[in-house]
């Protein structure tokens, strides 16, 4: 799979629906650019500027809780 595929230059907008996030850490662990962190048992967007919009966090989130625009 083409992980970390290059995307458009426009900065990413990462949204987290905290009430749906169950804190599994899958998005955090497998983000190729280390954009995400855990905070209080849920995901937190820590370095949005590093995001390449590879979409893997969104694709792998089991809880429909994170989106990348």
């Amino acid at each position: 799979m083409a992980e970390g595929a290059p995307a458009s230059k426009k900065p990413a907008i990462i949204r987290v629906k905290l009430e749906w996030c169950k804190g599994c850490e899958i998005c955090v662990t497998f983000c190729p650019k280390n954009v995400l962190e855990m905070e209080g048992g849920k995901v937190k967007v820590a370095r949005v500027e590093d995001c390449t919009k590879c979409m893997l966090c969104e694709l792998r989130c089991p809880d429909f809780a994170i989106t990348v625009e």
Binding site: M1, E19, W20, K22, G23, C24, E25, I26, T29, F30, L56, E58, L59, R60, C61, P62, D63, F64, T67, V68, E69
Partner: protein, 271 residues
């Protein structure tokens, strides 16, 4: 960003699956696949049995039928035979499809009825608390195999192929884009399509087998799944502990509802 909202029953969320359960990942891949294929929601029927995976239909805004344990394929056969125009997708699990529903599984494959089966293999009975299932690996611990399972597991893809399914594939919840592609192929195939989806249970299987964190299960999938192309080039030693993913079997075989239509036509001509 993919907009899932038009396809889900948002009021039922957050869903019931545990933290890190792959079933939600499959659900999303399924939605993207059906969206990509342009399947009309009114003409889609999603049928399930009992278990974690079988809760999937409750979250999808199509005609949904949550049946009795093991019987999804029997109900789905009735739906498809009665209304061949409907797009019938069965969502089931390893226990549901290959233990209590094993007979329907092999016979639906034998008939090669045009039903797409997404069989989530989580290696355990998750909903009931982690009892040993037909796909629990030998040696794995389960609540009813506290000292490790002494039974060999089913090769559920091989079973479908042997029984007559025209399409058999295996995907997993780590390789999500590939999973979406396989779901598309399975739906597009006319005939009985079986897609085994590795979605190991973190709560009831992982925790008992030294992979308690969902991330560990994802890493396990990442490290043990290999593509068909790679598999072909591997030696038997290299294949040890590895799992093939991709299209395992794809042939053209007469499909049940087509055969019935042919029979009707033949009888009309004879009249």
């Amino acid at each position: 960003m993919f907009d899932y909202l038009p396809y889900i029953r948002e009021w039922n969320f957050p869903h019931i699956w545990c933290s890190g359960c792959g079933d939600g990942i499959v659900l999303k891949a399924l939605i993207r696949a059906t969206d990509g294929l342009g399947i009309h929601r009114d003409e889609a029927v999603m049928v399930s049995g009992i278990g974690c995976s079988s809760r999937t239909p409750g979250y999808v805004d199509v005609n949904t039928l949550h049946t009795t344990h093991g019987r999804a394929l029997a109900f789905a056969t009735g739906v498809k035979h009665a209304s061949p125009n409907l797009n019938v997708i069965v969502v089931t699990g390893d226990g549901d499809a290959t233990a209590i529903g094993g007979n329907h599984y092999i016979h639906a494959a034998r008939r090669n009825i045009d039903i797409t089966v997404l069989l989530y293999n989580n290696y355990i009975y998750g909903m009931t608390g982690g009892q040993v299932s037909p796909t629990t690996r030998k040696g794995d611990r389960a609540s009813t195999a506290p000292f490790g399972s002494i039974e060999p597991p089913f090769n559920i893809s091989g079973l479908a192929k042997a029984a007559g399914a025209s399409f058999v594939a295996r995907g997993d919840v780590y390789n999500v884009k590939k999973l979406e592609k396989l779901i598309k192929l399975a739906i597009q195939k006319k005939g009985f399509s079986l897609l085994e989806i590795l979605s190991p249970c973190p709560t009831a299987w992982g925790r008992r087998n030294k992979m308690g964190h969902p991330v560990q299960l994802m890493e396990w999938l990442r490290d043990s799944t290999v593509s068909m192309e790679k598999w072909e080039k591997m030696t038997d030693e290299e294949r040890e502990g590895k799992i093939r993913t991709g299209v395992l079997h794809d042939v053209a075989r007469p499909e049940f509802t087509d055969e019935y239509a042919k029979l009707v036509k033949r009888l009309k001509a004879e009249k």
